[in-house]
């Protein structure tokens, strides 16, 4: 089967940052994303996720490599100082390149 290389960008952040991240995704030209509520522990201690506003979310977005770079750069510059956030990329293969 003919697959194409793409990047999966995963962003785990406090749910209050969600609105801002989605805006950024639109600006950088991502075609779609997936968002879910998550809980866990990290630099901020445990995030119990009992109240939605103070919980964490995870956003996953598939984009071409250059968009992924751009996205991480903007996150690093604009949002890392303001919000509790972790972001990383992974190499993935997709079937329909034009979807992303």
């Amino acid at each position: 089967m003919n697959t194409h290389p793409m990047k999966l960008v995963t962003i785990i952040c406090e749910s209050l940052a969600g609105k801002h991240v989605k805006k950024l995704l639109r600006e950088t030209g991502a075609h779609g994303w997936t968002l879910f509520d998550v809980e866990g522990a990290g630099a901020q201690g445990e995030r119990p996720g009992d109240i939605k506003e103070f919980g964490n979310i995870q956003i996953e977005v598939i984009v071409p490599p250059n968009t992924a770079d751009q996205l991480l750069e903007r996150l690093h510059r604009d949002y890392f100082p303001r919000f509790t956030m972790v972001a990383y990329t992974s190499d993935i293969q997709v079937l329909r390149r034009e979807k992303f």
């Binding site: 406090e14 209050l16 201690g45 445990e46 996720g49 009992d50 109240i51 939605k52 103070f54």
Partner: protein
């Protein structure tokens, strides 16, 4: 009623007992956990119910009756951060942005604390103005905006515009889910009046106490999960989380008295004044004052002030109300 009897009555109400049960569930590491969706559902129910009931009361009392105490409540909410800020800043030696964020929380109000107070008044069979939910609605937002302004003014870098942060906090303060729902339900109740109440009473009034008990059990767990953070806030804030509300409760009772409320109404005004926001304010502060530490403001309002108010605070505010009215 003797003061200790008043506290005992409050502690033995189903709502407070279930709150303690929630705390115990976390302390003993029980696997009891409410789904997040239930938490949201219960909040929506409680806010809609008290808003609607308050709105119906406004329609029968007349808007002009509510106006003076409503304005007094609003001014009180706006003024509290103005003296809380310097106290935190200079007595507590907190960073300006933290002092401002906390000041906003204590000027704003907690709906659940208010509901617990109405519950207590019902328990001791003391009548109160049903339209008091309107005070709750007008006290939630102003302090948040004042807190954000104080924080921005204190930490403003040269040439940085104030507008964006104030706009964000205004939006959050006016259209955050709690204020929006409460104001919406108030308007709905005011439009429907008594006739509308007859139709929804079986849903919004009869099961209310049970829903409140269930919700407070969840709040007990939410508060207890943050007990560990008490170590991080320092002795000053621990003390402030109790002394601040007592002082605000006393002042609030005085304002309620001069605004012409009944003994029950004065108790509610004192409770509102003493309570601190733990949903609307933290969300607004996180977005508008990102440099302020959430551990400080959330722990003091949620893990110190909230439990204090619903257990011992409310009977004390009732005592303050009695003192002013005598």
């Amino acid at each position: 009623m003797d003061f200790f009897e008043a506290i005992r009555t409050n502690l033995l109400s189903p709502a407070v007992i279930f709150f303690v049960l929630g705390v115990l569930a976390v302390v003993f590491k029980s696997d009891l956990k409410f789904p997040e969706a239930l938490y949201v559902t219960l909040t929506i129910y409680l806010l809609t119910a008290i808003g609607f009931k308050g709105g119906v009361a406004i329609s029968s009392a007349g808007f002009s009756v509510v106006l003076i105490p409503g304005l007094a409540a609003m001014m009180l909410g706006t003024a509290i951060p103005l003296w809380t800020y310097p106290a935190l800043r200079y007595l507590g030696k907190l960073a300006p942005v933290d002092a401002a964020a906390i000041a906003g929380h204590y000027g704003s109000v907690s709906a659940v604390t208010f509901i617990a107070a109405t519950n207590y008044l019902k328990d001791i069979k003391l009548p109160y103005e049903d339209y008091a939910a309107a005070f709750l609605a007008v006290m939630e937002s102003p302090a948040i905006v004042v807190g954000v302004l104080l924080g921005k003014l204190a930490t403003r870098r040269q040439g940085e515009p104030l507008g964006a942060a104030v706009k964000t906090s205004l939006h959050e303060a006016m259209f955050g889910r709690s204020v929006f729902l409460l104001v919406g339900a108030l308007v709905a109740g005011a439009l429907c009046g008594k006739r509308g109440m007859a139709g929804v009473e079986g849903f919004f009034v009869t099961p209310f106490q049970g829903v409140l008990a269930l919700f407070l059990m969840e709040m007990g767990m939410v508060a207890a999960r943050r007990i560990g953070d008490l170590r991080k806030v320092g002795p000053f804030l621990l003390g402030f989380g109790i002394v601040g509300p007592l002082l605000h409760g006393f002042i609030g009772a005085g304002i309620g008295h001069f605004a012409g409320l009944s003994l029950g109404g004065v108790t509610l005004m004192a409770t509102l004044s003493a309570s601190a926001s733990y949903i609307a304010a933290p969300a607004a502060m996180r977005l508008s004052l990102p440099d302020a530490s959430p551990t400080l403001y959330l722990t003091s309002s949620l893990a110190i002030t909230f439990p204090f108010n619903i257990t011992i605070g409310i009977p004390i505010y009732y005592a303050f109300a009695c003192w002013w009215q005598s």
